[in-house]
């Protein structure tokens, strides 16, 4: 995974405060290691996230892709300490620039959220407070996380609206959220995520509620701002097209486990895991160079529920290449040239 180091080194921000905080090229910004999230229930303990590991470097966009129930949103929530009880982190570690953040108190977490980690959620109309003007919400966040005055905070708020491309920003500073269109609201949410000068942004389906023309604008904006400022991004989405166009690396999640992780182009064009191949084949596409053919590739069945995740490799009942070992034992993570995969096809078995 060292091959893509130069791509984000080029995007490192010139002259922003971030560069002082950014980590060395060798060390990742965010490191999630064997993260386990458990939900105790009357019928036993569920594991929506099961030994998930990945890293994000400064200025890099990691895509986390999977279908509903894959555990992608709950992984994001676990990282910023927003798990709904009784779900809790039951193992592993989350390290942000050398600091363990999975064991912080709620008080300490509040400083991390918005300050060191910004968030963008799916629905822009519920991410903004309808009773406060856009300018007040931005300034409030800046004041909470940066050592600046009220006046400076308002100036920052204005600048952040300019940065995300809100037309006539000075006049819109005192506007209310309901006066913005969906796309403009999501731009404001991005401004809000970035105003505390975070090192990392977690964007959970940031464009799923938006029309396709607006989606393209918002993703282009998110990518530009984050690479310019050296901010790492965890982009959670179900859309393989968004993954292809926006991310540097991708982690494919299935039933709470990482099936495959690696550079986006490599994983999407030369997938090592049968699930990734199935996902690509079942996605219809508008690209002129791709022949749509007569039938989409089908993966039989559906993602298993948390209460009945199959034994061995969780994907084996749906897998076209399943062998007897797949049902009995769970595959380990196998390192390939620049990616990693959890599949018995790539592992020597006894």
């Amino acid at each position: 995974m060292a091959g893509d180091a130069d791509s984000h080194a080029a995007g490192r921000a010139p002259g922003r405060a971030v560069s002082a905080r950014a980590t060395d090229d060798g060390e990742p910004l965010l490191s999630v290691s064997d993260l386990v999230v458990e939900i105790p229930t009357r019928h036993g303990t569920l594991r929506p996230v099961d030994r998930v590991s990945f890293t994000i470097r400064a200025g890099e966009i990691l895509g986390v892709v999977g279908e509903s129930g894959a555990g992608k949103s709950i992984t994001g929530a676990a990282i910023i300490g927003l798990l709904d009880r009784p779900a809790h982190i039951a193992g592993g570690s989350v390290t942000l620039s050398g600091l363990r953040i999975d064991q912080l108190s709620e008080r300490e977490l509040r400083r991390v959220r918005g300050g060191r980690i910004g968030t963008v959620f799916q629905d822009p109309s519920t991410s903004l407070n309808p009773l406060k003007t856009i300018g007040d919400q931005l300034a409030e966040t800046a004041l909470a996380h940066l050592p600046i005055t009220r006046h400076q905070a308002r100036e920052r708020a204005l600048q952040s609206l300019v940065d995300v491309g809100i037309p006539a920003a000075a006049e819109r500073l005192d506007a209310w959220p309901h006066q913005f269109s969906g796309g403009m609201r999501q731009r404001v949410v991005i401004a809000l995520a970035l105003i505390g000068e975070p090192e990392l942004v977690i964007a959970d389906e940031p464009t799923t509620a938006l029309d396709v023309s607006v989606q393209a604008q918002v993703l282009t904006l998110l990518r530009r701002l984050c690479t310019e400022r050296g901010v790492g991004v965890m982009l959670v989405t179900h859309d393989m097209g968004v993954i292809a166009e926006t991310t540097d690396r991708v982690a494919v999640l299935y039933a709470g486990r990482v099936a495959e992780i690696g550079p986006t182009q490599r994983v999407l064009t030369d997938a090592a895991h049968p699930y990734t191949r199935g996902l690509m084949g079942s996605t219809p596409d508008t690209s002129p160079s791709r022949d749509i053919g007569d039938r989409l590739v089908q993966i039989p069945g559906a993602m298993p529920g948390l209460a009945n995740i199959p034994t061995g490799c969780a994907f084996h009942p749906r897998c076209p290449s399943a062998m007897s070992i797949c049902e009995q034992r769970e595959p380990h993570t196998t390192e390939l040239s620049d990616s990693a995969v959890r599949c018995w096809l790539h592992e020597d078995y006894p």
């Binding site: 029309d211 989606q215 996605t283 690209s287 749509i292 559906a302």
Partner: protein, 349 residues
């Protein structure tokens, strides 16, 4: 267009939509208007839309939110009367048909809905959900109904044993299969599908889309397919109509639309859609958004976002004309076709 003399002439299109218009009054209450000196506010959700759907084919209506696509679907199945214009299904207008004619027409048109959780009665067993149309239209009775339900379940990839279960026992994709089985139960010719897979995961979407194509081939069904997703359209449709703010801006066969779009809006949509091989692609979108449909821009509704606009675009609405394989409403369509699917010129405001 004259009504076809022989109602079931197979060379005639099954659906003919002519000048279809639907306006909604979205004004405040009468007294509020007087006090605040407001005018009436009329939303033209669908404005002078004409197209036809040939037998055994799929016609897809594509548009972003507020384009009027679902309103058209409701008018085609007769759930909503048009403000002007007409829908003819095999020569019969569902908004005007009464009694036996309406009942006969209802059997021939069915609908598949977007949300498989909201469109099935949670208190009914699957056998009742699928059996109801069979009984209502008197297609079978007694044990025959049970047999027919079992056959339908197997046809959509479920098993006959599922008939006794309730909807909550199924996953989203399986529920959508039940919805399809219910639509097939009355042996319809036309199925109007309103975003049938947008609530489903991509692997399940592939299963449902493949199933719908198999059923079309086996049963000779005609689909009116409503969606916002161009990639699904490319897989499913024979002919595609693109809607923008209630207007049909372009209608063309699939290959023509995807290789040589004639309307700048179609071209922008194709450019904006994410591609599986678009690694690191930089989008050249127009930077705009769909404007308020209550007071749409003058002339061509798309002109404020359009890179091809000329002086007359903000004065006159361009007439629909035939050009190459398309029917398009744009003064500058020749230039758009010539440019093909390369980069989209952006407006410099």
């Amino acid at each position: 267009m004259r009504p076809s003399p022989d109602a079931s002439d197979p060379s005639q299109p099954l659906v003919e939509v002519q000048g279809l218009t639907r306006r909604f009054d979205v004004s405040s209450a009468w007294l509020t208007r007087v006090v605040r000196r407001e005018d009436k506010r009329i939303l033209s959700a669908v404005d002078e839309v004409s197209f036809q759907v040939n037998r055994g084919e799929t016609y897809a209506l594509v548009g972003e939110s507020g384009s009027g696509k679902s309103t058209i679907a409701k008018m085609v199945v007769g759930l909503l009367p048009p403000s002007a214009g007409s829908v003819l299904i095999d020569g019969t207008d569902p908004a005007r048909a009464r009694g036996a004619a309406m009942s006969a027409l209802r059997r021939r048109i069915q609908m598949i809905f977007q949300d498989p959780y909201a469109s099935l009665n949670p208190r009914w067993r699957v056998a009742d959900i699928i059996g109801e149309p069979i009984r209502t239209f008197g297609l079978a009775s007694g044990a025959e109904v049970v047999k027919r339900v079992d056959a339908l379940l197997e046809q959509v990839g479920l098993s006959a044993g599922d008939a006794g279960k309730y909807p909550h026992e199924f996953s989203g994709g399986q529920r959508q299969r039940i919805g399809i089985a219910r639509a097939l139960a009355s042996e319809p010719e036309l199925i109007v599908c309103d975003e049938p897979t947008s609530a489903l995961d991509v692997s399940v979407q592939a299963q449902v889309l493949n199933l719908m194509r198999d059923l079309q081939r086996d049963l000779g069904l005609t689909y009116l397919f409503i969606t916002h997703d161009l990639s699904v359209v490319r897989y499913m449709a024979d002919t595609i109509g693109v809607l923008y703010l209630g207007k049909l801006v372009e209608s063309a066969p699939r290959e023509a639309l995807f290789t040589r779009p004639a309307h700048p809006y179609t071209r922008m949509l194709l450019e904006a859609a994410p591609r599986l091989d678009g690694f690191g692609r930089v989008h050249e979108t127009d930077g705009g958004e769909v404007p308020d449909p209550i007071s749409p821009p003058s002339g061509c509704h798309y002109h404020p976002r359009c890179g091809y606009r000329t002086d007359r675009c903000d004065r006159d609405y361009p007439p629909v004309r035939a050009l190459a394989a398309s029917r398009v409403a744009c003064f500058e369509a020749e230039r758009v076709i010539e440019d093909g699917r390369a980069s989209v010129p952006t407006t410099t405001a």
